[in-house]
């Protein structure tokens, strides 16, 4: 699994819905820094968004790498399974992050953005039902599935209300 990266483009208003997500991790969860993260209120765990409407429970952008419910480990040993889950910082929102624009989509300055898990864990598009952010770049960009664009990303959890 590739490691994540710091996708923060501009720190303008860093915020968190949950500051410590230690209690929201499952042993099967793996997320990279920079990935969108949603809150599964049914199972009370963090999940990666699977479709655009999952943006309703978006809580932000991951700030650390999580591998199998743990912080990414430096070395593998015989006791990995018994390692305790440490305090893990929650996803952040409110800043400008680099996200990946869906292929074939044109974004204009100020356009609202929606999740597009099909493009990737940082994927966004310009149409949908749950606005998660706004394009903050200065010129029109046509996505190819790899181009990173700056966007101010908010959170919709709880109550499915966009907030920055």
């Amino acid at each position: 699994m590739a490691t994540g990266k710091n996708t923060t483009f501009k720190k303008v208003a860093t915020n968190m819905v949950i500051s410590d997500v230690k209690g929201l991790l499952t042993p099967s969860l793996s997320l990279n820094e920079g990935d969108f993260v949603c809150l599964d209120t049914t199972n009370h765990v963090l999940v990666a968004p699977a479709n655009e409407t999952d943006g309703a429970t978006l809580i932000g952008v991951m700030s650390v790498d999580i591998v199998n419910g743990q912080l990414r480990s430096a070395i593998s040993t015989d006791v990995d399974a018994s390692a305790a889950v440490p305090s893990i910082p929650g996803p952040t929102f409110g800043d400008e992050y680099l996200v990946v624009l869906k292929s074939g989509v044109t974004v204009h300055p100020g356009d609202p953005l929606y999740l597009d898990p099909g493009t990737g864990t940082r994927g966004v598009t310009t149409s949908g039902t749950k606005i998660v952010g706004i394009y903050t770049g200065t010129k029109n960009v046509v996505g190819d599935g790899t181009i990173e664009i700056p966007a101010k990303i908010g959170a919709r959890a709880p109550a499915d209300t966009l907030k920055f």
Binding site: S73, I75, T77, V79, A83, A84, P86
Partner: protein, 417 residues
Amino acid sequence: MKLSEAQRDEMLGRFDAYLSERAESNTLAQKNREAIKRHCLNNAETKDYRESMKRRFGIDPLTETDKFPVMKESFSWKKFRNQLEEQLREADSASTFPLFVIAGLLQNVIGMYQLTKMSYQEWATVTPTNLVETPIAPLHGLTFPREVGAQSPYPEVYAAGLNMKLRAKKYGSMYSIEKELLDDDQTGQFKQQTGALGEYLQMLTEVLVYGKLASVSGASYAGFDVPTSETKPSGESTYPWNSAGFAAGGGKTRPSSFGALTQANLQTGIQQLMQQKNVLGIVMNVNPKRILASPFYRFDAAILLNSAYYPSGAASAGGVGGAFAINPLQGIADLSISRFMPNNSGVFAANSKAWYLVDDTKPWFQVLVKTPVSVEQENPQSGESFNRDIYRFKCSTRMNADIIDPRFAWQGNDGSV
């Protein structure tokens, strides 16, 4: 022009007269000044003023001009005003008084940390590390040699050990206190509270050590959750306290049923530890030397370890433990009593019945310290400290503690009996 002798005498006479007249007038002026001075010094108001100054400050303002320079002839109100303004500016500066107070607080924090003595240091091994994940690989040794027949090939032996790591975690707290509270607290107790930051980190280490030792799910003390042991090998189902025998080697670290801290149970623990097996099933060199218990067993343990006579009651004369028989446990082990010994429910209670017998000469329980204690204070010239006169202190440490190999310890009771 040449003066005659008569003319010269006349001129000298006039000059003497002038000088004489001048001297007379100067004396008069001096007399006048002295009269005025006497009047000033001896009038009723001045006397009251001088008496008041003597009573309050112990100086005579009119005669001790070195202490009260206003009366000096060279005194300048202009210079005095400039000096006063300069001193007032220094007093108003944010960098003078706050730093003085903060320096005192920092010394308190560090001092309290050093003064706090906890019992884990008596048997756990504190090791500095500079790694976020410290690999630990205790090697248990080789398999046993055998008889070799004539012309027979030698049996091959192999080594076995443990393969584990421990990740340093960060612990700490932040304390905010307003400047006025520090200034106005006449008891100084709030100032001492900042010292508690360091003390609590030391206590947290004690809680972590005994919590990891017990390895009870759900252990928690004052909001600090202690996880179970993080060094459980993937091949072991019951760890670290196992009465059935480890999958690797078959060693046991607890009796089949727990018991109180008695002479008989202690003897059982000593026997089992001295027959402890490593991962290859070979007897290890374990020498139980220390009992770990809560205050609940403070007296019982002292009696067991310090009685001159047999501590478990008299038996018939001539038998083991008979009347006046010696105490075979006397001085056989040291005692560490901790206020933070969790019971089988993970509650750190002073009356926990849990007790352990350990070999404190081996580094089987490690406290890996990456940052022992770090005390930081928010810059008083920026942020909240400057805007609102709120001092914020942050105390943190990066470390972790865990069992490296439980085979050097024996859990006599998890607290349930």
